[in-house]
């Protein structure tokens, strides 16, 4: 692990709602909530299923791949720690289950486009914090 301090925002890894997502990411698993009552997928986490209003939510594995719903390329850093990454791309990715994640697209990103295929990579930001990112899939 690098001695360099990680200066970007770090979520509350013990958050009552999102904690299980971060714990799974640390174990290199991509997860989302699924309602055991109606089968709906939910992300970001909620305390109740908004489709059937049952509190039967379980964290389940999601396919670690998907398509780019859209993306933006930052040429300006709105937080000083992102300066070193400029320009960097952030996408909303939709998995086959229909779950949508916001995430960084790793370099190289030639061919990044709406509809492009990507897969999950797990970036170990600190010893405790792992951030799911997305890399382009050839073809």
């Amino acid at each position: 692990m690098s001695e360099k301090t990680y200066a970007k925002p770090v979520p509350n890894l013990d958050d009552p709602e999102m904690g299980p997502f971060w714990k799974a990411a640390h174990a290199k698993r991509l997860v989302a909530q699924q309602c055991a009552s109606c089968g709906s997928w939910i992300f970001p986490a909620l305390p109740i299923c908004p489709s059937c209003l049952e509190q039967a939510l379980e964290w389940r594995d999601v396919t670690p791949a998907g398509t780019v719903h859209s993306f933006a390329v930052y040429h300006r850093a709105f937080h000083p720690a992102y300066k070193e990454d400029l320009p960097y791309a952030v996408a909303i990715v939709e998995t086959p289950e229909g779950v949508r994640y916001t995430g960084r697209v790793t370099e190289p990103r030639d061919g990044l486009a709406v509809g492009a295929k990507v897969r999950t990579v797990f970036f170990e930001a600190t010893d405790e914090f792992t951030l799911p990112m997305w890399e382009l899939v050839e073809g």
């Binding site: 925002p9 970001p44 859209s70 930052y74 952030v90 949508r100 709406v114």
Partner: protein, 377 residues
């Protein structure tokens, strides 16, 4: 069964502070300074007002109970909206007036987010923030990226929003950004959050804005030419990002259908169009969702020059938030009233403008529109 509100309520006073920087002045003080101007314009004092609707500032303050002590009176009706955009504030005022809760209401907004260095666009400790998605320009850029991918919209077509707004702002002495900008200059500007350039995004500013709104019966008592509300509609998307289509904001079409049904009017009846523009993407989306251009054709429509000075449907004749000042949409209605009164000055007054429409949103969560006119419809 909908209540027919057409022509029952009128805007009879407008007021605002200068734009830019107000170091040390609170949102509440700026609201009250704007209210003073609006009351003066309407030719009344506080005794002629029985309602107050404040709009929370971008900073979260400016509630009615915070404005009240400075304003020095206790109106019969007082209320605060979290995000007025002036549209939702006007709608609430219309509801209060037609139901008799109040007869003459002053609406206000104030902010000093610029000089107090409000952390607009700061990264939140969420998956999105940790991934570097921050500032309203981020999701706005994603929305534009989708528009480009789905419909082939080009930078140049989209750029007519920023260039056209600048052309209008050059005709507005109080606008903050008035330097000429050609399409070539726009295209030569670097991306900020690609595909958005700095010129496609508003800049925080300080100031206050107020309107005086009254019943049509009372409107004749005021010295100003009344501007009547002919129609209003709203639609929410309060599920936010849990709604899969949140970037495209197709839900605005529901508000659009309702306002056209309710008024019996159509887009071609509108002389002047005002669209709240924290980013230029809002204008592209709303001209399509409110039916001024088919969905996907907004870019081509803009490139035909309709929205620019001399065009068939002038948009944001004050320069909008992109060029005049970031006042959460409030200056759009002020400008619409000025134009309809014929008081916009020789450089930007649009001749024979009788009907204006104002469309706004609370980011990805809520939208609304109002149609106002020089007659009762």
């Amino acid at each position: 069964m909908a209540v027919d509100i057409r022509g029952k309520v009128a805007i009879v006073g407008i007021g605002h502070t200068r734009h830019g920087e107000w170091p040390g002045s609170s949102p509440e003080l700026l609201s009250v300074l704007a209210i003073k101007e609006a009351l003066k314009d309407a030719g009344i004092d506080r005794n002629g007002v029985d309602g107050l609707i404040t709009c929370k500032s971008v900073q979260g303050t400016n509630k009615d109970i915070e404005v009240g002590p400075l304003l020095g009176f206790n109106p019969g009706y007082a209320q605060t909206l979290d995000y007025g955009t002036c549209n939702f504030s006007l709608h609430l005022a219309v509801q209060a007036i037609v139901t008799g809760l109040a007869e003459t209401i002053v609406l206000c907004y104030g902010a000093n987010a610029r000089t107090m260095r409000f952390p607009f666009g700061a990264a939140s400790p969420t998956l999105a923030g940790a991934s570097g998605l921050m500032h309203i320009g981020g999701p706005a850029a994603m929305a534009l990226q989708r528009h480009k991918a789905l419909y082939g919209t080009t930078d140049e077509e989209f750029g007519w929003i920023a260039v056209g707004s600048r052309e209008w702002a050059q005709r507005n002495p109080v606008a903050l950004f008035r330097e000429p900008m050609t399409m070539a200059q726009y295209l030569a500007e670097p991306y900020m959050i690609e595909p958005l350039r700095r010129q496609d995004v508003t800049m925080l500013s300080d100031g206050g804005v107020a309107l005086v709104v009254t019943s049509a019966e009372r409107a004749a008592d005021f010295p100003t030419k009344p501007v009547y509300v002919l129609g209003m509609a709203e639609q929410s998307q309060i599920r936010g990002e849990h709604d899969p289509g949140f970037l495209d904001r197709a839900w605005m079409s529901s508000a659009s259908e309702r306002i056209w049904d309710q008024t019996g009017m159509k887009p071609a009846d509108i002389d002047l169009l005002y669209i709240q523009d924290p980013t230029a993407v809002w204008i592209l989306q709303m001209i399509e969702r409110y039916g001024f251009a088919p969905v996907g054709e907004g870019g081509r429509w803009l490139a035909e020059g309709h929205s620019r000075p001399g065009g068939s449907l002038p948009i944001n004749t004050h320069g909008g938030q992109l060029c005049e000042s970031y006042m959460w949409g409030w200056m759009h209605l002020v400008e619409a009233v000025r134009q309809l009164r014929g008081e916009a000055g020789p450089e930007r007054q649009v001749n024979e403008a009788e009907i204006a429409m104002y469309c706004s949103t609370q980011a990805w969560l809520k939208g609304g529109a109002s149609i106002i006119a020089t007659h009762k419809g």
